[in-house]
Subunit: 388 residues, 2 copies
């Protein structure tokens, strides 16, 4: 049996989500926009999923929830939609140095359309300083976009504090909460954001489904123009089977959040406590407390993360070097460089992510395997030979 | 049992598609971009679906197929992506008067970004004249986008002929083939298009899955920026369950196309032959031969299409007044006005769409119900009273 310590690449579907999606396939609901009874039934299940989603993030008006094809579409929609809607007011956007590729590349795209971007730096723990965000804001700033939690190092940003600064200046505020929603408590009333991105797979729903919270009255252009679906905010026939799965996943995420958090925190503490017995000369990246409870980012000196992943894979243990979205890129992680890691240490990084389905025994098996892999790789490492 | 004569709003899933999707849910493949074995397995099924899709439209290089969240995303990606990529060469786009809302509204969006649009008119049958496309092209035309078939009247455009004209001028050519791919034979080699949009539900795959054919070397900006998925053309974790369903649907569409076409043509001919026995004073819209074999657009004088739909729904018969994407719009169809229908006649229009699952008996039951509904509605119609 494979040990999945790469939940951030793909969380397994909850049994209840599987069941609901299989039932949806069997029911074959049809198109929620149809004018007849079949359409009404489809619309009813769509709106039920929307309620579940709203409930998960304490959104009071279900019309503020827009389903999309996933976190990437949500983030693209949020920042491009805000930039285009506000282009007459200004063309400056503030973000951080450690955002996800979906955001970085969306902003890079906007740069070619004559928008200006300011990226604030983070400290060694990966934390954004709200004062720096305040300083970065100019007369023509139209959008501030700071991620809720980082997908490589787990650090959670002071969104509420940043939100207050941004709102005083009457600027749109988006947070990419793709790796947080459904995992940690989330309350859009408290956060003070105008737009929030999420993805269903983070809370054991299907991949290819995500969404946006868009506060009522927020000016945002659609990314997908066409029909009047999703309260005229996102055109296109819905992935209803996936959305139904997302709704059920949201219900369970809300209901089971406390026991899930308690379990994954135990696993994380066990891993961190026992790691020194398995390996030496490593860093734990990210903030030690203000962080995702399911993630450990581990830079192991003198060896390559890719080699560790492959060797652990041979032992049927899945981990990753970083976000699956960045696979194929040979460059060192911009996140790790931003928190002060050297290129070399960044290359030796593993992202270990847990879920409720992991057990303490699995952590022990992982540590044992990691010990062997690190010893083997260091024996072959010229860097390791040089230092000794 | 409901009689579904609204296949264009929602085609039912093929039993084999349901089975494949249920199996995919049970397998829970994970993320094709993951670096470990689970990722490799997911990538293998993703690429198998891509091959099936390529095969359906005679695309020789599977890298030219990009999966999206449906027809609407495909069309948005095609025209916005082409416009942005080519903005330095020019800002003029040629299209037709009768395109789908996804295209019309994407172009309207581009207009606000300083692009110019020329829409060529169509004749009474809904046909675009290739010579008019040639005339509309200017020095700064960067894209021609003409739909393959129309979703309201079924007319199929002379894409091959238009393609030759467009290619001579070295301009990008996109066709929205969302209502054609999988229903009628499609060969991207012959068509001469650079970009083609499709949706899986047209050929009995799931809603919320579609794609693009993008000829190798075509400059096109992604609509979704982020990770390197889909050969770096469309970022975001894949809706793998839906894509697997689309692949199986594509296999069957290819294999079963001839018998399906034969069956739906029989139904269409039966309906058209027996219609005069049921009602009088109506028009059949669209070209009588160069058209989708599964669609009849029927304008019934003196009454409202919406009322017919609701009364037929009471008899468990599903039809629509037009594309489900246009539901909620109270304006008369731009397609029907473009082919010369009056506002009044446009309002009295039904779009009847068949599938392999319909029977001749269902057509008879529909005709009988339609006769009663039309009689009832005309008895209450002031327009009908006035003319008599």
């Amino acid at each position: 049996m494979t040990i999945n310590l790469d939940h951030i690449s793909a969380n397994p579907l909850l049994p209840e989500v599987k069941e609901a999606m299989i039932e949806a396939i069997r029911m074959d609901y049809g198109n929620p926009s149809s004018q007849h009874k079949a359409g009404d039934r489809a619309m009813a299940v769509l709106e039920k999923a929307r309620e579940s989603m709203a409930n998960l993030i304490n959104c009071k008006n279900t019309k503020e929830i827009v389903f999309t094809s996933g976190g990437t579409e949500s983030v693209n929609h949020a920042v491009k939609g805000a930039a285009w809607a506000k282009s007459k007011k200004g063309r400056h956007i503030v973000t951080s140095n450690i955002e996800h590729n979906a955001l970085i590349r969306s902003l890079r795209r906007l740069k070619t359309m004559d928008y200006r971007i300011t990226s604030v730096s983070v400290d060694d723990n990966g934390l954004v300083n709200p004062a720096e965000v305040a300083e970065a804001i100019t007369e023509d700033t139209i959008l501030v976009s700071i991620m809720h939690s980082n997908n490589e190092i787990g650090t959670i940003q002071p969104i509420e504090e940043i939100g207050k600064i941004v709102k005083e200046r009457k600027i749109l505020f988006h947070t990419d909460a793709v790796d947080s929603v459904g995992l940690v408590p989330m309350d859009v009333q408290k956060l003070g954001v105008d737009i929030l991105s999420f993805a269903a797979n983070t809370f054991y729903g299907p991949s290819g489904v995500g969404g946006l919270y868009i506060r009522r009255g927020t000016p945002l252009w659609p990314l997908l123009d066409g029909g009047v679906q999703e309260n005229n905010k996102r055109a296109g026939a819905e992935n209803l089977i996936g959305i139904i799965g997302a709704g059920v996943a949201a219900d369970h995420a809300k209901k089971d959040m406390a026991p899930r958090l308690s379990h994954i925190r135990t696993l994380r503490e066990k891993l961190l406590a026992e790691l020194p017995n398995a390996i030496d000369e490593y860093y734990i990246n990210g903030h030690s407390d203000i962080c995702l409870p399911n993630l450990v980012s581990l830079s192991i000196k003198y060896i390559e993360g890719e080699s560790i992943v492959l060797m652990l894979d041979d032992e049927d243990i899945s981990v990753s070097t970083r976000s699956a979205c960045a696979t194929g890129s040979l460059r060192a992680s911009h996140v790790l460089l931003s928190i002060g890691r050297s290129h070399e240490d960044a290359q030796g990084t593993l992202v270990i992510t847990f879920g409720p389905d992991n057990s303490e025994e699995e952590i022990e098996r992982f540590l044992k395997a990691l010990k062997n892999v690190v010893e083997t790789l260091r024996r072959m490492s010229p860097l390791y030979a040089k230092k000794n």
